[in-house]
């Protein structure tokens, strides 16, 4: 018997939320064609969720190695700031994107160096960049909110390709590419091995430190890209607030998606579902008109609900409700 897939519960949670919304207001599910592109709440959720999904993708790998990256929000701000300054300086889009990605890679490398080479505990190592990074971002834009006037740049976040929104397409492509890169090669196995038992992996001849560092670098790059999307989305680099609290959302998405914070087994698909779940929840609260002050409460209930359903014990209780279909 194959172990039950952990993705099922967040998926059900997602379905329940969608249903709740649809019952409340049928327009929720409506997708129309407006000016030759798709338009509707589900499309919004995908577009808005694309940034969290990107950050959560890298976070999945970091968490799978048994670490965590708190600095992603600051990296988002840094990358946005870099974009804004370069575009304002009249540099080409290609250079700008490369620089933003480079900033993410650099940030990830710094984290990787601290965690993998120097053995600093991940929370502390990445806390440093979390604190300093936002300062750096503000330094880069000199405390201003810089307006970006580049239609090509904005297209990345708000554009449509063949009627489909570009940002989610980009993210889905990245998820697929990552999935293939991890599962068609042995990288996925290596990451899981290192996360499961680092000593044993090292003794088995894996370059544990390098694998961990790679995860942080990848995560940094993902956050850098998310920063590009965030800046493009609002046509401005907001060094103060961009990516704020994103680390919590990303970690939430990863863990709800079935990747344990203790490291080891990871599920990229689960992460994608987790990220969508959290975005759908936000939209749901707008939709139901939940007062903003108590908005955290439904979030809390959702977390508890989904994690409870994922737990083995509840699983067994639920399993007991249906007679065993297969003989032992």
């Amino acid at each position: 018997m194959k172990a039950k897939s952990p993705v099922i519960w967040p998926l059900l949670g997602l379905a329940a939320l969608v249903l709740l919304n649809a019952v409340h207001d049928l327009g929720f599910l409506k997708i129309t064609l407006l000016d030759g592109h798709l338009y509707g709440v589900p499309i919004d959720i995908l577009t808005q969720g694309s940034r969290t999904m990107l950050v959560a993708l890298g976070m999945t790998l970091v968490i799978a190695t048994g670490g965590v990256d708190l600095s992603v929000g600051s990296v988002v701000a840094i990358a946005g700031a870099v974009c804004a300054v370069l575009l304002q300086g009249g540099h080409s889009l290609a250079l700008t994107l490369a620089a933003a990605l480079g900033a993410g890679l650099l940030a990830g490398s710094a984290n990787g160096l601290l965690v993998a080479r120097l053995g600093v505990q991940p929370i502390v190592a990445t806390l440093i960049l979390m604190v300093a990074g936002r300062g750096l971002a503000q330094l880069i834009v000199d405390g201003q909110v810089i307006i970006i006037k580049s239609p090509a740049f904005e297209y990345l976040a708000n554009g449509f390709l063949l009627g489909l929104p570009v940002a989610p397409l980009l993210v889905v492509a990245l998820y697929l590419a990552t999935h293939l890169a991890l599962r068609r090669t042995a990288l996925g196995l290596f990451i899981e091995a290192v996360g499961d038992n680092e000593t044993a992996s090292r003794f088995a001849g894996l370059a544990a430190a390098r694998i961990k560092a790679l995860a942080y670098i990848f995560c940094g790059a993902g956050a850098g890209l998310a920063g590009v999307l965030a800046a493009a989305n609002i046509r401005a680099a907001d060094a103060y607030r961009a990516g704020e609290n994103m680390e919590l959302d990303a970690i939430f998405a990863v863990v709800v998606g079935g990747t344990a914070l203790t490291g080891g087994r990871f599920s990229i698909l689960g992460t994608a579902v987790g990220a969508l779940l959290i975005q759908t929840l936000t939209t749901t609260m707008y939709n139901l008109g939940v007062p903003p002050a108590i908005a955290p409460v439904p979030k809390a209930l959702l977390i508890i609900g989904v994690t409870l359903l994922q737990s083995d014990k509840i699983g067994r209780w639920l399993g007991g409700l249906w007679p065993k279909r297969e003989a032992a």
Partner: protein, 285 residues
């Protein structure tokens, strides 16, 4: 010493910058501290200023209450405290010298009045609130609600927090548009950033901001005024962050032992289609 709340927005940055630049101009040795959005940090900063025996303390309080103990310390040390930006509640009014502020309440009221005049007191409003619990969000919401209460035709049909962020404004507006469709007449945003984000959402929905939906907002940062000039925002109420000169004048007066006005407000203007283009070149922030 100047205890700032934090650096959470460009408005704050302009506020801090104004204090610093002006201090440099006048040769004042300014000790600056950033509370990073935490009251405890600000109190810590005040205590540190007292320990360092500064001549005067300027405080931009993050919340209204909770300053009595530290202000008593300052009083004991003989250091005058000037409150800026928003007022505090205290049992003992002698704890601070005076208050120089922007009046979030007045801003909300001005916005409501302008709107009533413009629309003739009719319309369905959606509101983009600031961060829940923050002072400007609280005041701007209450004042606006009071302001429109006189006009039964004006009605807030939905209100959500956009967290003072552009992304937030855009996201919430997208949700509003889907939820209410075309019945939205008016958007009231607690700051320009959210209004600007919402404008994008409105444009993406194929509507014309400023025309199909009347937009009222607060802050009047340069980009906001620009949007007014472009006709995308109909009106933005100024919340002037350039406190520097006035604060230092007051400090000098207090130190010289002169009596100063107990409460004074920065003059906040209102920009709409009539005066924004003219005001634009003069905007410093």
């Amino acid at each position: 010493g100047f205890a700032q709340t934090g650096a959470e927005s460009a408005w704050r940055a302009a506020n801090s910058e104004s204090m610093k630049v002006e201090a440099a101009k006048r040769g004042i040795d300014l000790k600056f501290s950033d509370g990073q959005g935490k009251q405890e940090n600000q109190i810590r900063a005040l205590r540190s200023f007292i320990a360092q025996k500064v001549d005067a303390i300027v405080l931009a309080p993050l919340v209204e209450t909770g300053w009595d103990p530290v202000l008593r310390d300052a009083k004991r040390a003989g250091i005058p405290v000037i409150i800026t930006d928003r007022s505090i509640q205290t049992a003992d009014e002698s704890l601070y010298a005076c208050f120089i502020g922007s009046d979030f309440f007045a801003e909300g009221r001005m916005a409501a009045e302008w709107l009533a005049k413009k629309t003739g007191g009719k319309g369905r409003i959606v509101e983009l609130q600031g961060t829940p619990g923050s002072a400007p969000a609280n005041d701007r919401r209450k004042a606006f609600a009071e302001g429109i209460a006189k006009y039964p035709g004006l009605q807030v049909i939905d209100s959500q927090s956009g967290d003072f962020r552009r992304t937030g404004g855009k996201e919430v507006m997208e949700a509003f548009l889907k939820k209410h469709g075309k019945i939205i007449d008016i958007l009231y945003a607690h700051n320009d950033d959210m209004a600007l984000g919402a404008i994008q959402a409105i444009e993406e929905a194929g509507l014309k901001p400023g025309t199909d939906i009347v937009i009222v907002s607060i802050d009047a940062v340069r980009e906001g005024v620009q949007a007014v000039a472009d006709g995308k925002i109909n009106c933005t109420v100024e919340c002037n962050p350039l406190f520097g000169p006035k604060v230092y004048d007051t400090v000098a007066a207090v130190l010289a032992g002169k009596t100063v006005e107990r409460k004074s407000y920065n003059k906040d203007e209102l920009f709409d289609a009539t005066n924004s283009a003219a005001a634009l070149p003069k905007r410093q922030y």
